[in-house]
């Protein structure tokens, strides 16, 4: 818990760019806003990130876990921090935890859906772009993270760097490489 909060706090220190000040006039009071407002404002972006990281089947659990942890730590969140960066950091940790425990768990053959995508489709949810999903999952971890945090969570490269334990410049390179690899995947797909 404390570790995530610390990571989040560090992340926030590096995110005090000019773009932040305009967005949040009451940033000094940010930590004291009712948590309900935080859920309403940031619920969608956290869900996008959870879906991108884990697929639709596990996204709901990761979303709940993220906001539950956030609720616990919320009174200690430093005023003026980027709430979105903080939440995405928690989601990132939760996703890593889930992927680790899923890897440890033995896979019963007939019990589980073959892949999260199949499950979503059968549940009648908006059908995810399967090809994109596969391409995203095939990216190296850093590139995948950089693409998701930069383009789906709209974090700055400095924030993405903090999350991936690298520099802003390295995060920018990872995101660019990730997009390049996605492009390669799709142009290959188009030819065949």
């Amino acid at each position: 818990m404390t570790v995530w909060l610390m990571t989040g706090t560090n992340l926030m220190e590096s995110s005090h760019g000019p773009s932040q000040t305009g967005r949040s006039v009451r940033s000094r009071d940010a930590a004291r806003r009712p948590f309900e407002e935080i859920v309403a404002e940031h619920g969608p972006v956290v869900m996008r990130v959870c879906r991108a990281l884990l697929g639709p089947a596990d996204a709901a659990d990761a979303w709940s876990e993220t906001f539950l942890s956030a609720l616990e730590a919320y009174p200690k969140l430093r005023p003026g921090s980027s709430t979105r960066g903080w939440l995405v950091t928690i989601a990132h940790r939760k996703a890593i935890d889930q992927l680790r425990s899923a890897a440890r768990r033995p896979q019963p053959a007939g019990d589980l859906p073959e892949s999260p995508v199949t499950d979503a489709a059968s549940a009648g949810e908006s059908s995810m772009d399967d090809d994109l999903r596969a391409a995203l999952d095939a990216l190296p971890a850093k590139q995948r993270g950089a693409v998701i945090y930069r383009y789906l969570a709209d974090l700055s490269y400095a924030e993405v760097g903090e999350l991936l334990e690298s520099s802003a410049a390295a995060a920018r390179r990872s995101a660019a490489d990730g997009i390049a690899n996605l492009r390669k995947h799709f142009s290959k797909g188009a030819k065949t």
Binding site: P34, S126, I179, L182
Partner: protein, 206 residues
Amino acid sequence: MSDKQIIDRLTDAFAGAGDAFDSDGRLHSRLAALAERQGLLDVSYRTVDSPLGLLLLAATGEGLVRVAFSREDHDAVLARLASDISPRILRTPRRLDEAAHQLDQYFAGKRRAFSVPVDLQLAHGFRRSVLEHLRRIPYGVTQSYAAVARAAGNPSAVRAAASACSHNPLPLVVPCHRVVRSDGTTGEYLGGPEAKRALLAMEAAA
């Protein structure tokens, strides 16, 4: 495909996941239930329709802690609760169903006293003594500010008693509307003077 097209395809694919992600409110309910079970929900709230407009009801684990009229600005009231009590606040109708039900009955003329537990932590000192006394003024009965000051233990504090009534965190449930001026005029009310007159008329007619 250009980089821009790739990025657009990516954001489009996940746009739906964010926009309509909890249209039925199931995720939110689940979060609230988990938070309550783990003792992380310090304040829950809901709104309820009434003849006096939309009311905000907020409760701690102790009981009902705030009733607010819409003219008080519900967002501002919630922000105050976040700083006065705790920012761990979620909309959680269930914890407040009974209070909402009793208010419905009260406005329908079918209830004369509230039996939900209350949390008076937002009032301190003399103001709190005033609220404790107000809870004992029966339905349909009025009292003067001077009588309230006396009953709360400080006969000379008539203005302080009036101030305690006008800052009552639990209007309706703690019936500050039953306190009127010695000359018989209604006096101040959080919900506005017309609301106070309407409540007194309703209780007098019952």
